[in-house]
Symmetry: D2
Subunit: 147 residues, 4 copies
């Protein structure tokens, strides 16, 4: 008997439900001479997904910077590289907001290739005034959407 | 009474003594539209320093791969981004080996601009057979040097 | 009297008809401290479009390399950077094959943002044996499709 | 009888005399899954050398931007990729100013590995006001040095 409920957290794979998903294709530019994706490129993939997640909530970062003097800067990333991805792989990158303060956010992200996890990250981002790069509160018009 | 000795670990700056140091200059390619170094680029800087540290011990990774079928892959990185670096900055990147197993290494790395820490990372690398990307022991000729 | 016909080549915009098109979004990773896309990144965009054009013809380069020992290497690029692209821009990248030899191809590519041309390139690619990086003939199963 | 004189231009290698030289080491980040340097990375190497050439003349681009509202943007590059460079290669990148207008420059650049040319480029750069990205004259304090 399967007694799991649809909303029960899944310890092995916490990213399949509710998380925002963004597809990424691996190109030559992403690979290195080892024949696999260069490790720093996964941070690009994570960032594209965060950007598209914000866009899905109505926030373009070019507008946040130009009109609201706001940028988000990464203050910490704890990353596990679990498997190698390769040229032509189709990956899925997830974003899940796990904490939200007045001036910062904590997210969990995962990169998967089908059922296989490729990389996982806990990402801490702080809200900064774009012109002086000093911490500031997340604008109130964003707070309501960051849930 | 302050009885600290010159070799006592320095909690604020554990990387100035004994660690391998490598200089990195910030170019346009390293910056992003926020006017600072793009966060993933620090991983490139960390990696250049690890590469030069291995070279300083006598190990070129192109030779390790071609003649010994060995590559090192990053399995985990815990990174703190402390300050923003900018175009033309001269940075120092350190590498300190903190643990060494039969098939893996743990390193502490720091990027500094003069006295200011820019980023710190704990880096876990595993030794792999280059052709199949499977874990293997660090070659014995390397073990003696990895101290 | 303007007697131009719909299929007449358009000097101002030779890439709108018949050329393969691929969309590219501009992310933070693509921008530099000048606030615009870093010039070398356009070569990545051109390459993604060439990769997807080949895929649209049935050719995955990971398969070409693994099963047919074939890679394509760029031998020459003549690039005009016409306008700056910015964070969040949605670009269209075109590929048009203009010449095809037994071991090489010449393509014209363009990056547009709506009606505005951003960059244009003439790209020369040679077919190489992947293991020795020496010129070789384009496989016959590809030749029929490269028109 | 060899009647060549030491200062005679060398058609095969026009970049060894008088040109500014800058060393570049190839790291994992520069390579791709083909086992060689990714073609767009050569543009990074060319740019580092131009940056260091300007610095050698007394001009830091971060200062030009912050204090003089000046950036240089590449308007055209004609590049020949002649040989593949590999991980750990030590390259020399040259810069030679061949034309200088009131608002633009033309340079010839070459990347060499010892005696072997790896890539050559003719590079056209325009002087722009950094805040509006519009053409402007090269500041007079620079003109005297750009010879």
């Amino acid at each position: 008997m399967n007694t799991s409920t649809p909303n029960e957290p899944n310890a092995e794979n916490p990213h399949t439900e509710a998380a925002f998903q963004w597809p990424v294709r691996v190109y030559w530019e992403d690979t290195d001479g080892g024949g696999v994706v260069y490790h720093a490129r996964y941070l690009h993939f994570f960032e594209r997904a965060r950007t598209e997640w914000l866009r899905s909530l109505g926030f373009d970062q070019s507008v946040l910077k130009a009109e609201h003097n706001i940028v988000f800067a990464i203050s910490q990333m704890d990353i596990k590289f679990l498997r190698a991805a390769h040229l032509d792989d189709e990956l899925q990158v997830s974003v899940r907001l796990v904490k939200r303060g007045r001036a910062s956010m904590q997210m969990e992200q995962e990169i998967r290739r089908g059922d296989e996890p490729i990389a996982r990250a806990v990402v801490y981002a702080g809200c900064l005034k774009a012109d002086v790069f000093k911490p500031t509160r997340i604008p109130s018009f964003m707070l309501a959407e960051l849930r």
